[in-house]
């Protein structure tokens, strides 16, 4: 077991490719994506029941070493600022197999 940080990002689905690129650039070793999430936040409801498919969220989970968190967070901040969304950081143990 190795202590890691779980970073959860909830973001407009349209921004997803951009977020993943940024994560790659920040050097994370991997991530998991759940493409279709709905929700509610500062910018109102995002019901997913849209014909345009434009108002849907994606959920991204990445586990990374604690020392990488700052880099990841800084790279995401401008996207979150411009397009909204949430980023949560918590503690976990990674099973080394």
């Amino acid at each position: 077991m190795m202590p890691v940080k779980r970073i959860e990002i909830i973001i407009d689905a349209l921004e997803l490719p951009d977020v993943l690129e940024k994560l790659d650039a920040a050097g994370v070793s991997g991530y998991t994506v759940i493409k279709d999430a709905t929700g509610k936040g500062e910018r109102g409801e995002r019901g997913g029941g849209e014909l345009s498919g434009a108002f849907i969220n994606s959920y991204v989970l990445t586990a990374c070493p604690p020392e990488q968190v700052a880099a990841v967070v800084e790279t995401l901040r401008p996207i979150l600022k411009r397009f909204g969304g949430v980023c949560l950081v918590s503690d976990a143990q990674w099973l080394i197999h």
Binding site: G49, L51, S52, R82, F83, G84
Partner: protein
């Protein structure tokens, strides 16, 4: 105005299914078309309408007349957002004004399709090139609105603006691309291709449209609540602007010598408002605009207004002048 038109239109299965969708929400039924089915239904409709348009385009003649129509379409799609913007700006922020202007400058493919079914029922023909006109009208309003936004908005958030992305969102977004592509394929594959695809693109078309309108009814009814936020000004705008656009489109069609069917389709395009291509583009290009204004306006007011009242009104006027 011919009331038989109104009743006959109303008793059309697609329209009735739209009302069934509205009713489902009003009685709090849990009826729902689960994602991603509405998406695939709309891809099907774009595919079919594009392909049929391409086949018609290849079969037809009248080259200059077509070019004239296509130019008129692009001009209208570029001018509507301009005057819409200045009307809206009296009450709204720059971002919201731009997004709504784009919404009304661009078009709604499903309105077009419903109008086509309406004409078909009445036995009035229109040209396959009208599909090309529709495809060409999706994007210019997006470009115009984003340009207006860049010019008029002081606070650009320091965000990097990418022309490349804008063109891509405007011209290569999924629905524009599919309809254009299907149009070209329809034109290329000709009679033989059209015959093989007919059961898919034509025969089951109305059935799929019914299903899609059932879903649109559900979505529109759910958006009605948001209209309270929009207020009386925007609610009125969502009915009056289509009428204004039609009032410009009909004389223009007359002057350009369009046939009755073409004039009707041109009018309905100008009067219709986007709820697929434009919202997708606005999220990226003007994220500051509030989607709970522009989406319900086009989806919950303008769309039903056009397919219920608008179509018979526009056709009655056209009938009056053309006959």
């Amino acid at each position: 105005m011919d009331f038989n038109l109104v009743i006959g239109n109303f008793l059309n299965p697609p329209i009735l299914f739209f009302f069934l969708g509205l009713a489902a929400v009003f009685v709090k039924s849990d009826l729902e078309i689960p994602a991603p089915i509405p998406k695939i239904l709309s891809l099907y409709l774009l595919f079919a309408i594009g392909f049929k348009g391409g086949v018609g385009l290849a079969a037809g003649g009248l080259q200059t007349q077509i070019v004239v129509i296509l130019i008129a379409a692009v001009v209208m799609a570029s001018v509507v957002p301009l005057y819409a913007f200045f009307i809206l700006r009296r009450k709204l922020s720059v971002a919201d004004s731009c997004a709504i202007a784009a919404t009304y400058g661009s078009i709604s493919a499903v309105t077009f399709i419903t109008a086509a079914a309406f004409l078909e029922k009445l036995g009035i023909a229109y040209g396959g090139y009208m599909v090309a006109a529709m495809a060409l009208m999706e994007s210019p309003a997006i470009i115009v609105a984003v340009l207006l936004y860049r010019l008029r908005s002081a606070d650009q958030n320091g965000a990097a603006f990418s022309w490349k992305e804008l063109w891509r969102d405007a011209f290569f977004n999924g629905s524009v691309f599919l309809i254009m592509g299907s149009l070209v394929i329809g034109a290329l594959s000709g009679e033989a291709g059209a015959k093989t695809l007919k059961p898919f693109t034509n025969d089951i078309f109305t059935g799929v449209l019914c299903f899609f309108l059932l879903d649109m009814g559900i979505v529109a009814a759910r958006k009605l609540g948001d209209l309270r936020k929009a207020g009386a000004f925007l609610t009125a705008f969502a009915i009056l602007l289509p009428l204004v656009n039609a009032a410009i489109a009909i004389p223009l069609a007359y002057v350009l010598g369009l046939s009755e069917g073409d004039a009707f389709m041109f009018t309905i395009l100008c009067a219709s408002a986007s709820y697929i291509a434009v919202p997708a583009a606005m999220r990226l290009s003007i994220p500051e605009a509030n989607p709970s204004l522009y989406v319900p306006m086009s989806l919950a007011i303008t769309f039903p207004f056009n397919i219920i009242a608008g179509m018979p009104i526009y056709l009655a006027i056209i009938n009056y002048f053309w006959r």
